[in-house]
Symmetry: C2
Subunit: 121 residues, 2 copies
């Protein structure tokens, strides 16, 4: 329930960019690793491979990322498009603003607890 509320707030904050918080996280992960395979992305975001594939398809349709084959012909490699990079730049401050709002509401310790849980589990 807590996650739904948190996610809804980020989604609302990112609304002007046309992406949601899951997509934002995915684009950020791609940005730092590109070019990157689906499997590698899935590991980074702790998502099932098949989920990655479908999620990437969505942002690809939006023109935010481009996919191709890697040197290893089995791999599907993903990279940001110029448009994707632009959207990410626009989304950054919105995301941070939301983060600040949430922190003001729940306190820095509780926000940190979420990051800790991710590490500890």
């Amino acid at each position: 329930m807590a996650t739904r509320k948190v996610a809804a707030r980020y989604d609302a904050a990112l609304e002007p960019t046309g992406i949601n918080v899951a997509q934002y996280a995915m684009l950020r992960a791609i940005e730092r690793r590109q070019p990157v395979s689906l499997t590698e992305l899935g590991r980074a975001l702790d998502l099932d491979r098949s989920t990655m594939g479908r999620n990437i398809r969505v942002v690809e349709k939006l023109g935010l990322v481009a996919t191709g084959r890697g040197d290893d012909q089995r791999e599907s490699v993903v990279r940001l498009t110029d448009h994707g990079a632009t959207v990410l730049r626009k989304a950054g401050p919105l995301w941070e603003g939301c983060q600040t709002d949430i922190e003001a509401r729940i306190g820095a310790e509780r926000l940190q607890a979420l990051a800790d849980i991710n590490t500890l589990l």
Copy 2:
């Protein structure tokens, strides 16, 4: 990401009962309020009405709850079946065991932080 990990643990713990943690939470909410309308349940669990309807349909197919019309003919009222109550009794200790495991891993404060976030947001 943290939520996915937490949910996956509870789902694994509840596996012997055939229900997942979202369904467990829903059945618990029904147990405490039955007979209860979809809208009321949705408010309790902070879920969209349409989501409630679809989720209820799943547990209804499993024979865990029964639905009918209320005095207000618009309302769909839900109550646990005997089977649903049995499954819930079986699930309780599994859920608690998982909760204890998680607390041992992340610490009571961080676990409490999740409940707090839910209240504060």
